[in-house]
Symmetry: C2
């Protein structure tokens, strides 16, 4: 039992503002952060449970391990460039990779809705297997539950993963220093647009596929190249913008990026225009940023560019001391603006 002194008894969220859970609490923006920081993290109070990391890192024997989990509730289950199965494997593989770990073993929990066509389940199972093979991880333990019709949505998947860390230095926002450079592994926004198009039945001139892909090989190339790596982060819920803000806030430093340096495919930019989305906040499932010291930038770029899906890596900005905790972006026309966290989500259930 917890003692009263370390465990507040009344709900720590302002119930008058949000008496119930809203979709925005899962969107990766301000409300998601509020839920985490005001309720969940204070309740669990584990030194390993970091706000700002994709997984927990701890030692067992002589080994350093990373451990992470994500649930996947994407709608629709199948979309251009992927499906809930590829997402459930790559998402967790990528979280391990961002801890600097080589992904080894995954668990898989399925929550099925009564009435789900059996061959839909079979497509998802095949997809899980193919994605695990492609990412070189083994699914080693699992669970299947069924809920009544109308109490689920086809298939929800949880995967948890264990990876082994060989890299000796801590990879975390706390390792980021003024003077570091920010590298982005390729173009952004495709996953978000692919989901949106598929959900709403939109058609563009070209089909926009999700960028969903495993990132562990590219990260391992980077770590093996001998450069210092200060921070890694994949750009899922909340996109590049939210990720950079989290790092800047956590590191108490400023990150300045240049809009013209950020690759956005023309068709994605056009779709964003039509739909009123900002690609900075769109989810990606195969993109990450690496923050490295200036002196190592060229070698890091070369290492990342040597491996798919990071062959399009570019330098997008740098870290400075102030204004602390903020992200600013120099626009195409030369003006500078603050990049702020969205209060809700642009798109619910994108992963």
């Amino acid at each position: 039992m917890s003692s009263p002194k370390d465990f507040v008894l009344s709900c720590p969220l302002p119930l008058t503002d949000y008496p119930t859970v809203t979709l925005a609490h899962g969107g990766g923006g301000k409300l998601t952060h509020q839920l985490l920081e005001k309720m969940i993290l204070p309740a669990f109070q584990s030194p390993l449970l970091e706000t700002r990391h994709d997984g927990a890192v701890f030692g067992i024997g002589e080994s350093r391990l990373a451990f992470t989990t994500d649930s996947y509730v994407v709608s629709p289950l199948f979309f251009p460039g992927g499906d809930i199965g590829t997402l459930a494997i790559n998402g967790t593989v990528n979280d391990l990779a961002m801890c600097g770990a080589r992904p080894l073993y995954l668990s898989c929990g399925l929550i099925l809705e009564e009435g789900l066509p059996m061959d839909t389940l079979w497509r998802v199972v095949k997809s899980l297997k193919s994605a695990a093979d492609a990412a070189r991880v083994q699914l080693v333990t699992g669970d299947t539950k069924v809920v009544d019709k109308g109490k689920g949505d086809g298939v929800f998947i949880n995967t948890a993963g264990i990876g082994l860390i060989d890299y000796g230095q801590p990879i975390s926002p706390a390792s980021v220093r003024a003077g570091d450079v920010v590298l982005l592994s390729g173009d952004i926004g495709r996953h978000g647009i692919a989901i949106m198009a598929s959900r709403e039945g939109l058609e563009f001139e070209t089909q926009i596929d999700s960028d969903c892909a495993p990132l562990a090989s590219a990260v391992q190339k980077l770590l093996a190249s001998g450069v210092e790596v200060h921070c890694l982060r994949d750009l899922t819920r909340g996109g590049l913008g939210t990720t950079l803000i989290e790092i800047a806030e956590s590191a108490r430093l400023h990150i300045g990026i240049e809009e013209t340096a950020i690759p956005v495919r023309e068709d994605v930019a056009a779709a964003c225009e039509v739909l009123g989305f900002d690609p900075l906040y769109l989810a990606n499932e195969g993109r990450f940023i690496a923050i490295v010291p200036q002196k190592d930038a060229e070698r890091a770029l070369a290492a990342m560019r040597s491996e798919e899906p990071a062959t399009g890596t570019v330098r997008i900005g740098r870290v400075t001391d102030s204004p602390s905790g903020m992200v600013t972006m120099k626009s195409r026309i030369g003006t500078s603006r603050i990049v702020d966290m969205l209060s809700g989500e642009q798109l619910p259930r994108i992963c």
Copy 2:
């Protein structure tokens, strides 16, 4: 990508019989086993993904680890003796314990339904924390997703867990030998009845609380007592009956149990009579069986009885060579009957 030779392309389940997922596919009986054995296990084909174990066991460095996962979809969220939070912690802790592991770290993935009262979520979060403290495990990583109203059911929780195995011998049905004895850690059936009563608003003369409890301490006492332990299994979905059948089938041995030796509380027996349930198949969340050699039976009993919640441990039967793969039970009146697996479930969504 998988190659055609190791991966059949059409759905391996007889779609004419079950074109869609039914609640019984999640009930822990025959259909759950069919889904696992015909679809999921052949698809993933990992040597670590065993049909008959509660978790995967593997080495990392010099350490042997257990890794397991379960999703929790219990309805209602709160019931006499526990709630979805205690269940999510104890269920995964107990799966690790059944691998002979000392539970160390848990992950926690929440899938929340839009509109969930925030103070309900807070109750669940507090319960997760209290149960983790009581079981001496740390929640170290997590994830929160929100689904649209009507696409979930309040809260679903997935926990995955990592534990460390010190015990040197393999604990598995394959280690069971003819001549072994079967020990049961206490009375059965309370969790199933507690859920049923709570769901249907039934009232009995006495309140029947779930037996939900962490089993790791009792298992550690047993393992530290110096006895040989051949197999451990907690008695969740499917209950004692299904668990014993799984072990008998997997070990290709016969397990004979005595009805009069199996503790069932009077109020639970009375509730079963009224509701038409067989306590043999009711889920428990704080009970397990240990299969040990005859020579170690007394010491094993003493070790288990020294620690809650196993102080009521009794000997309920023994293992013989034949009839292979079967479980038989000698009834109160001296006749013997075959214990068969249920085709569906007595109670859906009990965990």
